[in-house]
């Protein structure tokens, strides 16, 4: 069964597209297109969960797939767009590391994650692809958090890391217990809301959401 799920062509394709969507986030300079790429990534993740659910036939995973679709692919991007619109932020993201070097670093991170994953040798061909993709998502998410100046992009980075963990979990365990998954979804949603409020506060206090400015002391 496991061989069928993760050896299938369509699964490989989805995972590769998830990687591409991550690179879309790395490669774009507009907030809206970053959010859109994140939505696409979550949608693809929901498809992965859907296929796992279909081939294992567990109702739990169907629920997880649906929740991924509803929360990560629809609600969270909506919250992002709401925030961007409300605080009237400049739509270009500011970077510490420029686009082309970011892309190259992203590529290097993918290779590093592959080599890290390869040293674990308990897994089949495709779950190793899924795992190294999940590992690269986590590391690229972290890289986005440290290389982008806007608070919104740091929020997005942590969500990409979360997506990577989700992909890793589903490819290793074929779905964690529903209770755990529900907890995680709740966590993510609340996390996004709290971060959203925090961004509003940062914006109100400093009149910018550039985290660079947080370093300046104000008396």
């Amino acid at each position: 069964m496991e061989e069928i799920v993760f050896g299938s062509n369509i699964m490989q394709l989805l995972i590769a597209l998830i990687l591409v969507s991550t690179f879309m986030i790395l490669g774009s300079t507009r907030l809206y297109s970053c959010v859109r790429a994140f939505g696409i990534q979550s949608f693809l993740l929901a498809c992965v969960a859907g296929i796992v659910a279909f081939s294992t036939g567990k109702i739990d995973i169907y629920i997880v797939a649906f929740l991924t679709l509803a929360i990560k692919a629809a609600l969270i991007p909506y919250i992002f767009i709401y925030i961007i619109r409300e605080i009237k932020v400049k739509r270009e993201i500011d970077l510490y590391v420029n686009i082309s070097p970011s892309l190259i670093i992203g590529g290097i991170l993918v290779v590093i994650s592959y080599y890290l994953i390869r040293s674990i040798n308990l897994i089949t061909e495709l779950s190793s692809f899924a795992l190294s993709a999940s590992m690269s998502l986590v590391s690229i998410g972290l890289f986005i958090m440290i290389s982008r100046k806007k608070a919104i992009m740091q929020m997005l980075g942590i969500l990409i890391m979360e997506n990577g963990l989700f992909l890793g979990a589903i490819s290793l365990t074929y779905g964690m217990p529903l209770l755990v998954e529900l907890g995680i979804f709740f966590d993510v949603l609340i996390g996004v809301l709290i971060m959203g409020i925090l961004i509003f506060r940062i914006n109100k206090t400093f009149e910018t959401i550039d985290t660079d400015m947080l370093k300046t002391l104000i008396g």
Partner: protein, 318 residues
């Protein structure tokens, strides 16, 4: 061995490349006009343009050397030679032994090199600007072009384009894999840059701040201009047929018979028109990018083809 029928195939391929290239150009213009709700020129307009230019005399600057006169012919020959190595309607190219995809990439580079040289030759400031921009873009296009086709070459185990085309076509739908798609998208971005389309270059204007290809050929007129224009269109057709017949070669004829070849030609034209429509859509929906943002676009393509190779290695566990 080189028989009469393979000579026939070669000659037919030359005729097809030269005859279809302006039609493709015209069709892209028409589709683009459709997206922009304009009527647009007839799809045969490029033929009329070339026919008209052929009847005109050239006006040539006094200061140019022989390079200026030789460059259009060298480029034309280089592109046509590349065309003989790329499968168009039959996968088993008789001249396939003469060179593989590396030869194709360098033939394209040779044509570009001479066009750039000629642009410098007349000593006009626009020409030099166009030449330097073209080489700037080319320095990023070439590695990505190589890498993206290498991803497919790794998959089938050969760099010979005829062999790649045959192998992918015999694999059928099983050939669609992550690296296939990634490399296709990468090569599509390269095709935009190679054919000088909108995020990279604008083929429709002579606006001095933005033009790349148009700036290089500014000094040409008359018959020479006709050859230069035809060469650009042929290059576009070849890049498209690389996209079509390396990644989606289904329907291509594998042996010589009239019905197979006729079918292959129809399928080829359909694939080319679909690609052209995609290109027109990209051109309509994006704006011309600033020159110094181009490395971003091209490094996306480079990264995609890199990812294609990495995912090939991961999936195959080499």
């Amino acid at each position: 061995m080189f028989t009469l029928s393979s000579l026939g195939i070669v000659i037919f391929q030359v005729i097809i490349i030269v005859a279809l290239a302006p039609l493709l150009s015209g069709m892209i213009k028409k589709i683009k006009a459709f997206f922009q709700i304009r009527k647009g020129p007839s799809i045969f307009q490029p033929y009329y343009d070339i026919a008209k230019l052929m009847r005109k005399d050239s006006v040539v600057s006094e200061n140019v050397s022989w390079i200026f006169h030789a460059a259009p012919l060298i480029s034309f020959a280089a592109i046509l030679t590349a065309g003989l190595l790329i499968p168009i309607y039959i996968s088993d190219m008789p001249l396939g032994f003469a060179g593989d995809l590396i030869a194709v990439v360098y033939l394209l580079a040779l044509a570009r090199f001479f066009t750039a040289l000629a642009s410098l030759d007349a000593g006009s400031s626009f020409g030099g600007m166009g030449g330097s921009r073209e080489m700037f873009v080319a320095s990023m296009v070439e590695p990505a072009l190589m890498l993206s086709i290498f991803a497919i070459a790794l998959n089938v185990g050969s760099t010979n384009l005829s062999f790649i085309s045959q192998a992918v076509s015999s694999m059928g739908l099983a050939a669609v894999s992550p690296y296939h798609i990634l490399a296709f998208v990468a090569l599509f971005i390269i095709a935009i840059a190679e054919t000088g389309r909108i995020p990279v270059d604008n083929p429709a204007t002579h606006l001095e701040l933005t033009m790349i290809h148009e700036a290089m050929i500014l000094e040409y007129s008359g018959k020479q201009l006709a050859i230069v224009e035809l060469t650009a269109m042929m290059k576009q057709l070849l890049v498209f047929s690389l996209l079509a017949n390396i990644f989606f070669p289904w329907g291509i004829a594998s042996e010589i018979n009239a019905a197979g070849i006729a079918l292959a030609l129809v399928v080829f034209i359909i694939k080319i028109v679909i690609l052209g429509a995609g290109m027109a859509l990209v051109e309509t929906s994006t704006a011309k990018w600033r020159l110094f943002r181009l490395p971003d676009l091209l490094s996306v393509s480079l990264m995609l083809s890199f990812l294609a190779i990495v995912s090939f290695i991961i999936v195959r566990g080499v």
